[in-house]
């Protein structure tokens, strides 16, 4: 169980850190095993920052992140290494996730160096092949290749295979399919579904609402660094209460609608204000459905 409690992130910017930029404001949520939680929102809403804080690639300014009750923000270097045994991530751009001058399977080798230094060659090889097969990759076709020789879908699946080499409980998937084409996209998405069935908790960061709807049980909608609406996917997408959520849902192009026929007019939204102020609190609007007060 991964818990975020009142997490804030501010960056120091400007010369000698004289100014402050708040990227995430008072975000709290939990992800249970076997659950996919989607975080959606516009660019700059802080959804990627949340994912990176869960992965501890960015420090938390205020608040705590707990895994199975243990505070990981105070874990230290060794504690972090153990944390990564249980929490792993896959990023947006498959081609940037691999160092272009090395072979792609080096990402698997790095896991061995840190976490399985005593495992023998043949035993490791068997483990790698099993893991690759479990994400639908042919080991012979992907091992020993350079990143530019593999497709985006293959690279993303290899990163998931890398995460599966460890006994992970939580996977942070940050826009992992937004750079893939439609047909590979659904394969990777279905793979996430299978992982969920196997008891993995997935934090699925995306800007694509239809993907969030397809894969996740619960959804969080973020704007200006704060949560504006959260709850069960069907509730939030079926009956959006916050004006921003309504705008967001209405802005998804439908397959059978033309631009000229679109009658939707965006609602007036509150402009970005003082980000150091606590955001509007979430109130329960329905069973499993919370929304922030608008305006």
């Amino acid at each position: 169980m991964l818990e975020l409690e009142n997490v804030w992130k501010s960056y120091r910017v400007g010369s000698l850190g004289s100014k402050r930029l708040t990227a995430v404001r008072d975000v709290s949520f939990t992800i249970a095993p076997g659950e996919v939680l989607s975080v959606v929102g516009e660019s700059g809403s802080g959804k990627t920052t949340v994912g990176k804080m869960v992965l501890q690639l960015i420090s938390v300014t205020r608040g705590t992140i707990r895994l199975d009750g243990r505070d990981i923000t105070a874990a230290g270097k060794r504690g972090l290494r153990e944390y990564y045994r249980k929490v792993q991530g896959v990023f947006q751009d498959p081609f940037s996730s691999y160092n272009p001058i090395f072979k792609a399977d080096r990402v698997l080798e790095m896991v061995r160096q840190t976490y399985f230094p005593r495992v023998g060659r043949s035993e490791w090889q068997a483990k790698v092949e099993e893991s690759l097969q479990s994400v639908g990759l042919d080991p012979g076709a992907v091992l020993g290749k350079y990143p530019h020789q593999l497709s985006g879908g293959q690279l993303q699946r290899m990163l998931i295979a890398r995460a599966l080499l460890l006994d992970i409980e939580v996977l942070v998937a940050d826009e992992i399919i937004s750079m893939l084409d439609a047909s590979t996209r659904i394969d990777v998405l279905n793979l996430l579904g299978e992982l969920k069935e196997r008891g993995l908790a997935v934090l699925f960061v995306t800007h694509d609402l239809s993907l969030a709807n397809y894969i996740s049980e619960r959804v969080i909608i973020m704007r200006h660094g704060a949560v504006v609406e959260t709850g069960a996917t069907a509730k939030v997408f079926g009956d959006p209460r916050h004006p921003y959520s309504r705008n967001l849902l209405a802005s998804v192009p439908q397959l059978h609608t033309k631009w000229a026929d679109n009658q939707f007019h965006a609602e007036e939204l509150e402009p970005d204000g003082d980000r150091d102020r606590p955001p509007a609190p979430l109130t329960k609007v329905d069973e499993n459905h919370w929304a922030a007060a608008a305006g």
Binding site: L57, G89, V107, M110, V111, Q113
Partner: protein
Amino acid sequence: MTTDATLKSDSVGESRERLYFAFRNPKVVIGLAIVLGLLLVGLIAPLLLSAEPTQQFDAKSASPSGEHWFGTTYFGNDVFTQFAYGIRSSFMVGALGGGIAFVIGLTVGFTAGYRGGLVDEFLNMLTNVVLVLPALVVLIVLSTYLENRGPVSQAIIIGVFSWPWVARAVRAQTFTLRNRDYVDLAKLSGKRAPQIIVREVMPNMASYLLMSVILLFGGAILFAAMLDFIGLGPTDSISLGSMMQQSMAWSALHLGLWWWFVPPGLAITAIVGGLYITNVGLDEVFNPKLREM
């Protein structure tokens, strides 16, 4: 299957491909040949020569002959002997001074670029301060303070003053590379910052680093020659620059002793020129867009 085979062959190694282009690039070959040829002279000739560079022969101001290949000086020193020892010390100063500058520049650049924040602000300030110091003036002051100057102290002084531009370039490159996802992935694999810098960031700028080593090496040789020429060279040994300084001090030009100053002058020009030609050639090797078809 055929596509698979071609894919394999182009993956065999970019490094081997680069080596292939490097040895077919006339600039690299010519430049390296000049530099390595002179290096061999500096390494081997002093071992074979019986005379010492300070030894004075009876024949003074003699023109080049079979006995004295490059003639002798006003005092009867054998110019070729001095030349060979001078090349040796020039290479020494170049390697040591360039090496020191490279190590400092790399350390500062990687630390500033990778850590960012206040560390970067401080290191960047330090870099800029050293960059705007009038290095020549400081070097002259420092050199005059040192009573006994050898090539080593000279190299250290040069090294301490020529790292800033490497540091700046490395810092800038590191800034762009440290935000790549593969750096994050290495962190998620439990790798520490020094490992990430060496294994993930550095290989991506290897070509740049190689070229900056070459330029620092040449720059240190040139700087040393300049210091020598204004009389701040080594006090206990001979160098190419101090040979030229001596020849000028004893009016070799007016006495017509061209063999005294032409060889060291040509050697400095050839070493530095050779290094720059190699560098231009390597640029073409690493950047295919510059290759002449």
